[in-house]
C-alpha cells in the first residue's frame, strides 16, 4: 500500500454548526497505532471522529482516511469501524441479530456473516446467552460491548472509538484495552477518545490534545511533554537518602519543588531545566553520598500534559 494511503489526514479542517464552532483549522496526520484524543467536554473530540467517518461534513478543508472519502461508502466502511457514543439501537433486536444485520449489509454470504458475528462476540467477551437476548434488557456495559462488537466485526483497518470504556467494569475495561492494544500492534489505526486517561495513556502510541475546537498538541506523549518546556517537569528518584538528595537539588535555581514519596524511599523533584537537572544528578551519584536506584519521569503522561495545556484535571473530559 502507498504510505500516503496508510494515514488519516485532516487538512485545514473546520466545522461550524451554524454559528457554533465544532473544530477550527485542524491539520493532522495520524499513522497506524493507538491514538488518544484528549480534551474537555465540548472540545471537539466527537466532531473530529464524526468528520473522520462522514457523519458530518467539514465546512472547510478535507478529510481522508487511508486515501478514501466517506462519500465512497462501499470501500470506505469496509475499512472503517466506528463505535459512536450514542447509546441507542434499532428496536426489538438481540445483540446477535444487531451485529448480524450490520454484517449482512456488506454483501457477504449469510454463513460468513454468522461466523464473523460469533467471532466478534468472542472478541468482546459477550457470552452466547447474552448475545441472544434482546438489547433492550442489556446493562450499560453490555450495550457498550455489543457496539464494540459491531464496530470490529468486519475487521476494519481503522477503528474509531468514542468513549469506549464508558460503563465497563474494571475487568471488561482491562480486556477492552488489551484488545485495542493488540489491534494497534497488528498495524490498525485505533482512535480512542476517553476521559479515563490513566488507562488509555498506557496503550496510546500518540496523543492528540484538543480544546475549544483547536488542536493544542499532538504526537508521542513523551515528545509532547518535551514540547511543554515552559512547565517544570517532575521526576521521581528512588534512593536510600531522599532528604539529602532533595536538599542538594533544592540548592540550585531550576529545582522548584521537592516532595518525599509516601514510602520514604524516594523523592519527587520538579525542575525547570531537565538537562541541567540530569547533569547534577549524575554528579551526586558519582559522589556516592546518595545511592540512586531508579529515575523516572513522574508527569510524562497524558494526564499531566492535559493539566498543563488545558488546565483541567483530565478526569472530567
Amino acid at each position: 500500500m502507498n504510505p500516503v494511503n496508510d494515514t488519516i489526514c485532516f487538512e485545514n479542517v473546520s466545522k461550524f454548526y451554524g454559528e457554533v464552532l465544532g473544530v477550527n483549522k485542524v491539520s493532522l496526520t495520524l499513522s497506524p497505532g493507538v491514538t488518544t484524543l484528549v480534551g474537555p467536554n465540548g472540545s471537539g473530540k466527537t466532531t473530529l471522529m464524526n468528520l473522520m467517518t462522514g457523519l458530518v461534513q467539514p465546512s472547510r478543508g478535507t478529510v481522508s482516511v487511508l486515501g478514501l472519502s466517506p462519500s465512497n461508502a462501499t470501500e470506505f466502511f469496509c475499512n472503517v469501524g466506528y463505535c459512536a457514543q450514542f447509546d441507542s439501537f434499532p428496536r426489538g433486536l438481540t445483540g446477535f441479530q444487531f451485529v448480524l444485520d450490520s454484517l449482512m449489509l456488506f454483501g457477504m454470504s449469510e454463513e460468513d456473516a454468522y461466523h464473523l458475528t460469533q467471532e466478534s462476540m468472542e472478541r468482546v467477551q459477550l457470552s452466547n446467552e447474552a448475545a441472544h437476548r434482546k438489547i433492550a434488557g442489556y446493562s450499560k456495559g453490555m450495550r457498550q460491548k455489543i457496539r464494540l462488537a459491531q464496530a470490529v466485526a468486519h475487521h476494519p483497518r481503522v477503528l474509531v472509538l468514542d468513549e469506549p470504556l464508558n460503563g465497563l467494569d474494571p475487568m471488561a475495561r482491562a480486556e477492552s484495552l488489551a484488545l485495542f492494544q493488540e489491534l494497534g500492534r497488528q498495524g490498525m489505526h485505533v482512535i480512542i477518545s476517553s476521559h479515563i486517561l490513566d488507562e488509555v495513556d498506557r496503550i496510546a502510541d500518540r496523543v492528540v490534545l484538543i480544546t475549544g475546537g483547536y488542536l493544542i498538541a499532538q504526537g508521542n506523549i513523551h515528545e509532547v511533554r518535551q514540547e511543554v518546556r515552559d512547565k517544570p517537569m517532575q521526576v521521581l528518584i528512588r534512593c536510600d537518602r531522599p532528604d539529602l538528595l532533595a536538599s542538594k537539588m533544592f540548592a540550585v535555581n531550576h529545582c522548584v519543588e521537592a516532595r518525599l514519596h509516601a514510602d520514604g524511599n524516594g523523592v519527587f523533584l520538579r525542575t525547570g531545566d531537565i538537562d541541567e537537572f540530569y547533569r547534577l544528578l549524575n554528579e551526586i551519584a558519582v559522589e556516592g553520598l546518595v545511592k540512586i536506584e531508579a529515575v523516572a519521569p513522574a508527569d510524562d503522561n497524558a494526564n499531566a500534559i492535559y493539566q498543563y495545556l488545558i488546565g483541567s484535571d483530565g478526569v472530567a473530559s
Binding site: 454548526y17 464524526n50 467517518t53 462522514g54 457523519l55 458530518v56 461534513q57 462519500s71 461508502a73 462501499t74 470501500e75 470506505f76 466502511f77 469496509c78 472503517v80 469501524g81 466506528y82 459512536a84 450514542f86 441507542s88 439501537f89 434499532p90 428496536r91 426489538g92 444485520d101 450490520s102 449482512m104 449489509l105 456488506f106 454483501g107 459491531q150
Partner: protein
Amino acid sequence: MMQQSVGSAIGTLRQQPWSLWWIQARRLSRIEIRRNLFTKRAWWIYFLAFIPAVIIFIHLLFDPHSGQNMGDDTQVLAAIVQVYYVRLGIFFGCLGIFSRLIRGEMIERSLHYYLLSPVRREVILLSKFFAGAVTSVVLFGAAVIADFVLMYVGYGAEGRDYMLHGPGFGQLEAYLLIAVLACLGYGSLFLLLSLMFRNPMPGAMLLLGWEAINPVMPSLLQKFSVASYLRHLMPVSVPAEGVFALLTVETEPVSAWVAVLGLLGLIVLVLTYTCYRMRRLEIRYTTD
C-alpha cells in the same frame, strides 16, 4: 465529442458495483419491512387501513342485501376509496410509515448505524422507500381487497358473478392501482418532508390542504398533486355535493396512462431530490 462523453458516462455506470448494491438493497429492505410491518407501533396504521372493512362487515351482518342495492354499494365503495383512502387513510398511513423511516430513526438515535455501513446513501434511501412502499401497499391493498369482497359477498351468487365475471374485477384492479400509486406518491413526499423538517406534521397538513384545494388551481399546478392524478383513474365516478365535490371533482380530463406516467414522473422527481438531501444529511442527534 458528445458521443465520447455519453460513452464515458455509460462506461462509468457499467463500472459501478450494481450486483452488490442489489444485494444490499434486498437485505436492507428485508430488515426494514420486518421493522415496519411487525411492530406494535404500527397498530394504528392497521386500524386506518381496515376500519372501513370492519364497518362494511358490520353492515353485512346486520343489513340484508338485495340486488337493487348493488349499484348504491358500488358508489359507496368508490367513495370509500376516493374520499377515505386517498384523502385520509393512505395519506395518514403513509405519513406514519414513511416519515418514520428516516426521521424516526433520528429520533431514536439509530440512523448512524446505516450511515456507517458500506451502503451508498442513495441505496439506503431507496431501499427504505421500497420497504415503506411494500408495507403500505400490503396493508392498504389488502384492506381494499377486503372492502371489495365484503361489499359484494352479501349478494350471494349475483355478487360473486359481479366480482369475478362482471365489471367488479376491473374496478378492483383500478382501486388497487390507485392504492399503489397513492402509497408511492404520498410515501415519496413524506420521505422528503421527514428529511427536510424535524417535525414533518406541519408540512403534511400543508400538503393535505394543497391536495384539497388543488382542483381549483390552474392546470399547471394541478400536475403537482397526487390526488389529482388518482382522480383520473377512478373506475366509478362519485357524485358529491357541497364541499365534498372538491374531493371528487374531475377537472381536466386526462387519459389513464398519462395520469399514471405523470404521477410516476412526480415520484421520480421527488425521490431524486430526496436522494440529494440524503447525501448531504449529517448526524447531529442533539439538534435533531
